[in-house]
Symmetry: C2
Subunit: 335 residues, 2 copies
């Protein structure tokens, strides 16, 4: 009998077909001695402060300009660890696959995951595969959960202080805009790519430079508007942002005009915000500029003790307004 | 405007509605100081050998006799840690919810999770919520990933040796049969309940008794047939099982006859198998008998150096046959 070219229910049944799928596809791509042990759980050696984070990925479409769900699932979880000052070490990976999914597509996605893992050195050490009948899921969902050694303890929303500078690592809104154009079939007319990327290399360098980083956060769902609002509320501070300092590329600006979005509400997947003392801000930006994807890193604002819990956006014409937490549907299935 | 009674896309959007759902429902149920910090990742203190495991749950129907997807998602991941001799400490939790899912149902499921966590003392310290449009998922999928301190190192398939006794903790096939009857609408005629349960209490006691446990595995998808076959192959040993020693309740036997299943192929969710030296076997069984759910614990076979890589089942009439790894579709979405 010819080998199936599509995922079948038996690939998730716990029997021979699942053992083959795991052995041939996943173990080959993610190969490492811990994974190969095939125990109920991976045995790790972790010492001291450890960061732990989880993300499920349901992005539609699965492939977009600048990445796919696999690259996203690795970068997303690795970045959450990095934002805590943690070296991404070990990841788990759970696949929920719809019956009939093309095996070749799954291979492409799994290979993207393996390639993205190399950018941080993290390893997938345990996994899980479920197959659901046709119509019970939309192609493929991936959960990745990660642990990593906290290299710089104390990076936390609660460390943000009035007087801190707020740095943005690059132009915003690319991921959300790229998904939107892919969904509308407009990607062929556009140069727009997602910012989807692993941030550990630049974060590792920033930590090594001993810059007294107070807080870091990657601006995913809800964009930088969500991050800045969470920060202002959690740390009970005001945040003042200069709109003219926020880089936005022409393609994202075009998408925003077309669909009525604000770029600060759009999701990013390789863009982060830092709060740190004003006197360290220039040094931080200087380091960031050397890294791929951070060529537009810049100071966008400051933390103050006025209007606590609120983010104020100053327009290029001098007028001020509150930057609110995004509300409503925005774009579903962005990550 | 009245509060919605169903999950909406905006509950997964990263904005205000998501913040409310997380704050009110999840934080209240899973309340603990680490979770409340709301960082990108939870900061844990882990020292030394740590077990790490993941599972996605896609069970249909979401509610069945003896449990629901929430109870299952906690017990399943906690059990994978316990099977490695690890104390379940911290869990992550990722929800993928279909738009339109009833909030009351979600509450019931989340409360079951909180109740099941108490049986091991594990805590949910980080999470993720995604909402997909109607038709893109079947109600609710949950991923749980866990870490825990390895209390007894060296429990591993590779430690299994010829001469070991094989102990089964209880009667088999209940979870698979309970899901099947729920799916066919037969549950009202049946006393059958799933074995779904947290195994840490009995495992903790077994470890404390210093019994030189070689391997443990909970017999989930693929049933005890899958566990025993994996063991015989991975440890390159033969395993001889006495069919008459395997407890099977009347209801499971009835379901097997009706649908043509073998009870050893059916999934369990609170049933485990131990391999340990023959001379420790009686002491282990004696301990197990005292625990709820283990009243039928018994020795079902032995490990040998004959027929390496194969499991041999001896029938009550003396005939022998290979117990094979389950193959084909079995029951999809059992867990």
């Amino acid at each position: 009998m010819a080998k199936p070219t599509q995922i079948q229910l038996s690939h998730g049944g716990g029997g021979r077909e699942m053992a083959e799928l795991i052995g041939k596809l996943f173990f080959d791509a993610f190969d490492n001695p811990i994974l190969r042990k095939e125990e109920d759980a991976a045995a790790l050696n972790l010492n001291g402060a450890t960061a732990f984070t989880t993300d499920s990925f349901t992005v539609a479409p699965l492939f977009f300009q600048g990445g796919n769900i696999g690259k996203l699932a690795i970068a997303g979880t690795v970045n959450d660890l990095a934002m805590m000052g943690a070296e991404p070490q070990y990841l788990s990976c759970g696949f929920i696959i719809e019956e009939g999914f093309e095996l070749e597509q799954l291979k492409t996605i799994v290979n993207s995951m393996a390639a993205e893992l190399q950018k941080s050195g993290a390893k997938i050490v345990c996994g899980d595969t479920k197959v659901v009948p046709k119509g019970c899921a939309d192609g493929l969902f991936i959960n990745t959960t990660g642990v990593g050694r906290i290299v710089k303890p104390g990076i936390s929303v609660s460390a943000i202080q009035p007087g801190d500078a707020v740095i943005l690592s690059r132009d915003i809104g690319r991921h959300g805009a790229a998904i939107l154009t892919a969904r509308e079939g407009l990607e062929l007319d556009s140069e727009l790519t997602s910012d989807c990327a692993t941030l550990w290399p630049v974060v590792e360098r920033l930590i090594a430079a001993n810059l007294d980083i107070h807080a870091m956060r990657d601006a995913t769902r809800g964009g930088i508007a969500a991050v800045l609002n969470e920060w202002s509320k959690a740390a009970n501070v005001g945040i003042d942002i200069e709109e003219k300092n926020i880089p936005v590329c022409d393609e994202v600006r075009g998408v925003c005009e077309l669909y009525g979005f604000e770029p600060w509400d759009l999701a990013n997947e390789g863009t982060f915000v830092i709060a740190l003392p004003q006197q360290a801000a220039e040094a931080a930006v200087e380091i960031m500029l050397r890294f791929c994807g951070c060529q537009d890193a810049t100071i966008i604002g400051t933390v103050s003790d006025a209007h606590a819990g609120k983010v104020v956006l100053q327009s290029p014409w001098g007028s001020k307004r509150y930057l609110e937490l995004p509300q409503g549907e925005l774009l579903p299935r962005i990550c």
